[in-house]
């Protein structure tokens, strides 16, 4: 076992594998940075090059890039409020406000370091988890997925900041939006308005680009000035502060990395949710949930950690079962076939050094990607001081390209622009945007899984062990603030409550 691990590690540094990994990482980060083109596109594009390569070289290229796509996406999310990839939407929630406060260096430091830590954790866990992955994956079915997502939805309640009612309203709007499209269980098209393009529902990447990027550009154009409108401390000082921040919040970082790995591990949850669920957890577990959305460090590091660690988790299921844990892994499976390797239990016996090599590649590529990001951070931070009149057209261009790139559809641009306007007014009247995205992403998954759970088991699905435990967690999360508020109310009136302490 240890020998195989060392063999795998050694193979990372052999030329041309190392060079291919670096190349893959650079391309992956660039592809991640460009909105609308995501990790899956990168993989689909790279697969033809893999023919005839030896497996170590091929995975150096593919995994080197795939591991850092979200790291690149975080950069455009931070700088321009335009997430480079769908999951990076969560990066925008608290990352961009930090940048607006002029703390770009710190934000980049946090994002890059959290990504690296999450990615390395995911790769490390990969090795440890493989022996027990089968019982875990077998234990989680649609009922469990439903409850996990409901936990996330419960956390939406905390995203309202100072005005919880507004947060809930926006969250409900998000849930409503998630109902648009064809119901997978009955095939009925809801809120389709006769438009074929709405059958698949409202794509969350489009909503995010509109709600965050376009609305921010409208704002900037109207207000004038530049993105970072406050004077800031020296940028490079900010970087180190950011890096240290991640280690100060190491416990949260670890928990979010675990959330990411679990979500990646279990097919059926979809990697999209990882960042949002981690964000929800950070909010709910914080002592100051109302400050989220204004630039909380925890809010930035949580999703960054989770969406890099989820790839390690997804790789485990792909390797151990031959069943892809995420859509990116589904494409990677194609690469396995091309290289003549059959993923599945046999891989553990026949190709163990390769499995370790894949984990090491992910870990090292993550560190490399973060290092590149950090090195560029200083220069990139200066962009946020550029005049709006220069920046707005450029960011709009990227945003439009990104929106079009999702499905090569002009209709999608209408959605983007619509949500741009919606986002502008939301900002104006102080409605937080994060709950809308969370409602949109989680709503679809919750409904699909609820329908499947009901079809499979009837209402009794609630009493399955893991499902029931998760239900209790939801009740606890929702109930605790109520209990606290009630006790506070009693306390104010001078009546001491019987039975005490937390």
């Amino acid at each position: 076992m240890v020998e195989a691990s060392l063999q795998g590690l050694a193979a990372v540094f052999v030329w041309p594998n190392f060079g291919l990994m670096i190349l893959g990482a650079l391309i992956g980060m660039t592809v991640g940075f460009i909105p609308g083109i995501g990790g899956n596109f990168f993989l689909a594009m790279m697969i033809p090059f893999v023919f005839g390569m030896n497996p170590y070289a091929a995975f150096a290229l593919l995994l080197g890039g795939h591991a850092v796509v979200h790291t690149g996406g975080a950069i455009s999310a931070l700088l321009f409020n335009t997430p480079g990839t769908g999951p990076n939407a969560a990066t925008c929630f608290d990352g961009y406000p930090l940048v607006k406060k002029g703390q770009t260096g710190r934000a980049m430091g946090v994002a890059m370091t959290a990504s690296a830590v999450g990615g390395v954790f995911g790769a490390a866990v990969m090795i440890g988890v493989i022996p027990i992955v089968r019982p875990i994956v077998m234990a989680f079915g649609p009922p469990e997925f439903f409850m996990m997502i409901m936990v996330g939805i419960a956390c939406i309640a905390f995203l309202g900041g100072s005005t919880p009612v507004k947060g809930l309203a926006v969250g409900a709007l998000g849930l409503l939006l998630s109902m648009v499209g064809q119901d997978p269980s009955t095939g009925v098209v809801r809120y389709g308005f006769g438009l074929l393009d709405l059958w698949g529902g409202v794509n969350q990447v489009l909503v995010v680009i509109g709600l965050f990027a376009i609305s921010e550009m409208i704002n900037l154009a109207l207000k004038g000035g530049s993105i970072a409108d406050q004077m800031a401390a020296k940028v490079s000082g900010g970087l180190t502060t950011g890096m240290l921040d991640v280690f100060r919040h190491w416990w949260l970082n670890l928990r979010c990395a675990v959330i990411g790995v679990v979500i990646g591990l279990i097919p059926g949850l979809g990697g999209e949710a990882a960042g949002f669920l981690a964000y929800g957890h950070a909010v709910q577990s914080s002592k100051t949930p109302e400050k989220f959305g204004t630039g909380m460090i925890e809010g930035l590091l949580a999703p960054e950690s989770a969406h890099n660690s989820k790839e390690g988790g997804a790789l485990v299921t792909t390797v151990a079962f031959g069943v892809p844990g995420s859509s990116g892994m589904a494409i990677l499976l194609g690469a396995f076939l091309i290289l003549g390797i059959t993923p599945g239990p046999k891989m553990m016996t026949e190709h163990l050094p390769l499995v370790f090599n894949m984990a090491w590649t992910i870990a090292i590529a993550n560190i490399f990607g973060a290092a590149v990001g950090l090195a560029l951070a200083n220069q990139m931070a200066k962009l946020t001081y550029l005049r709006g009149s220069i920046l707005v057209p450029l960011v709009l261009l990227f945003a439009i390209l990104g929106g079009y790139g999702v499905r090569n559809s002009m209709f999608d641009l209408v959605i983007v622009l619509f949500f741009g306007v919606v986002g502008y007014y939301m900002k104006k009247y102080d409605y937080p945007p994060a709950p809308l995205i969370m409602g949109l992403v989680l709503g679809k998954m919750a409904e699909t899984n609820l329908n499947m759970a009901m079809d499979l088991y009837g209402v009794e699905f609630i009493f399955r062990p893991i499902t029931f435990v998760l239900l209790l967690v939801i009740l606890f999360i929702v109930g605790l603030p109520l209990v606290k508020a009630t006790r506070a109310a009693f306390g104010k009136r001078g009546v001491t409550s019987a039975g005490t302490t937390a």
Binding site: T30, V31, F33, I34, I37, N40, F41, A44, M45, I47, P48, F49, F51, V137, M138, G141, P142, Q182, D183, P184, S185, T186, G187, V189, L196, D197, W199, G200, M231, K234, P267, G268, F321, G322, V323, P324, S327, A330, I331, G334, L337, I338, T342, G344, P345, Q379, K382, L383, Y385, L386, I390, L401, R407, N408, S409, N449, N451, M452, D455, L456
Partner: protein, 397 residues
Amino acid sequence: MLRQPRMWHLGIFLSALLALALVAGCAGTAGQPSAPTKSTSEQQSAKPAQEKPEPTKPAQATPSAKPTPAQAAQPAQEQPKAQPTAKPEVQADVAFYNGKTVSFIVATKPGGGYDAYARLVAPYLQKYLPGSTVLVKNVEGAGHIIGANTIYAAPADGLTLGTFNKGLIVSQLAGMEGIKFDLAKFVWIANAATEPRAMVVTAKGPYKTVEDLIAAPEVKMGGAGVGSESSNDALMAAAILGFKVKMINGYAGQEADLAMMRGEIDGQIGTYSSMKPLIEQGEARAILIIGKEDVAGVPNLRQKAPAEKKALVDLMESQAQLARVIAATPGIPEGRAKALRDAVKKAFADPELLAKAQQAGLPINYMSGEETGDLVRAALDQKPEVIQLIKDIVTKK
């Protein structure tokens, strides 16, 4: 200390943007192999020009050059000669594609089987249409309907073709809303593969034969979504064989495999090649095969189906035949249709492509455009009562 951004900061930023735009542009020509392959393909395309005696070929000998007056004169001289010697058939208008961009539409997101076949054939299509650039474009949505609509509604200039799920035949018969095409009218270019479909059940489960299924009170089958191939196949198989099916839809990709391993569902229907790993791992057993080919030890739908359901069985078999169809916009000039068909035919005979396909596990059984079109039209030509039966079957929950 805060410093004002200088012009050179802007310069760096703009250069970075330009670089990104170039990358995006290269990404747009997605899946194209790197330069070395291109130059060998140029050399190779010169060879067929010399080997084939067909009159139209010599004019295409230099793929990248602008046609010089001498070469331009050649086609003018060649064609009048061509007509009397050839039978009065259409000539493949390969010259048209020189310097043009062809869009190969895939009706799914990047990364699925249809996408894999498209990206496999696109560079070779480009090779056999010298001077052309073939771009793979993913236009997904509404279960392949948007992609198919896009191909159908494209300008009829021969610059658009694409691939989609032949399950749209059933969707068209059932009269699904949103369909703006008529499959019978597409210009069928080819069918790349035939893939028998297999119904599998959990190995640990109680069902060993089709008769067991029929006797059961309810059989839970997993599908991707209402209207999807997996779902329609399961419903049609149940209607043909007479077992009571409960569709559990919502399993994307291979999640149904895991659901079977968990014992959540009893079985699913998919291509035999995609089920093989499950069978080999001992998690599933094949209980029925649908298609013209027979698999040892597994009964075929043809054998098990009652005689009165023959029309439906034929429909399901033709679906298995038409696993990877390629179609072009209706109404394109016949010369260009022939050029596309010839190029695709040569692509699927190219030893390099065949080697890659085999490595990637993508079966290739080329069927000509004409034969594909005949099969599609035959499948669409059903008696009214059969159409009503199909409608009832696929709209049942």
